[in-house]
Symmetry: C2
């Protein structure tokens, strides 16, 4: 008598993999409905458990969303590192690549991206999200330093990295808000990134 739309009923009392499946359901829902319209109930329906089940694994709704946000942070970092691999050290192409991947993540997973920066301003958040963000910033700082042929990061590098980060961060939001539509922008994203990078960091480091 199970409805077709209903998720497969378990034959075992215990789910076996509920925690991670709830996180995945949460991620999907955040993407589909937006971070605001996510409900624990619906995630439970997708995972095929009662609405009380999540509270054996998470303190509350916020903690579930925080898990998704943290996973997003890590996923974005990994993508950035991946893109860096084939590019030669100290080249400006690496700076451009970091920006490109940052924005690609935002446009590919706008819901999660928004979520990642939703609670940033709140005081009660744990440090882990901030730490994950800071580590990404450190990478950019390092790349800027290397573009100048330095192995240690100076204040100038920090400032330049911050400018680049702000630009890319803002561009990401404007993109998912539809401001990067073709009729708004004269040039494409790649040209834009190149343009900005060229104004901040030198062409190549003198070895």
């Amino acid at each position: 008598m199970k409805t077709p739309a209903e998720a497969k009923k378990r034959d075992t009392y215990h789910h076996g993999d509920l925690r991670s499946q709830l996180i995945e359901a949460t991620r999907q829902l955040v993407e589909e409905k937006g971070p605001d319209n996510f409900s624990v109930s619906e995630a439970c329906r997708r995972a095929g458990v009662s609405t009380a089940a999540p509270y054996k694994h998470f303190k509350d709704k916020t903690e579930m969303l925080r898990e998704v946000a943290a996973a997003g942070m890590i996923r974005q970092s990994e993508q950035m590192m991946m893109e860096l691999l084939p590019l030669s050290e100290g080249s400006r192409a690496r700076i451009v690549a970091l920006g490109r991947v940052y924005i690609r993540f935002a446009t590919t997973e706008p819901g999660v991206f928004r979520l990642m920066f939703t609670w940033m301003g709140e005081t009660e958040d744990d440090e882990s999200l901030h730490a994950l963000g800071d580590s990404k910033f450190s990478v950019v700082q390092m790349e800027v330093a290397k573009c100048h042929g330095r192995s240690a990061v100076t204040d100038v590098d920090r400032q330049k990295a911050f400018i680049l980060w702000s630009f890319v961060h803002g561009l990401s939001f404007l993109s998912i808000d539809g401001k990067l539509a073709d009729d708004k922008m004269p040039t494409d994203l790649e040209t834009l990134l190149e343009d900005v990078a060229s104004r901040i960091v030198p062409e190549a480091a003198e070895v």
Copy 2:
């Protein structure tokens, strides 16, 4: 028998100024609790009316928040225009001023600022919010053109304005997320804005 904490009871059946007072209560709550934790019920309590009253003035919760967001857009625009007044035409100081006010608004009213860009990505939003944002962008485009001694906006101006906007937009978010704390940034905001502006627009227009 009225509790002291309770809002003053009306002697008239009709409130008289409910719509605007609900908007103001909403604005305050968005600022105090954040856009996510706002509830219509609490706004009603503040305004001293029943929880059904708002629905005579607004379609739903979203429409109330949208009003606050739109008012924020306008307020921010006004502040930007205000700051522009005493500065001479075509000077780069005007560009810097626009950025400074943009960020000042974000840090002064972080709740409303977040709210303004919360629904931007959603498809069902009406055009008014986008239109308000676009008009601000147009101002920046004009200022960039004037810095180059042009009276009409070219594609180059558009692109430069977009870069500036992205930067300032991202910087605003990073600021309210605590990334602009003293220990993170070597220089102050004003220096940073000057630095960026100098990389995008020329010092002064040749008349």
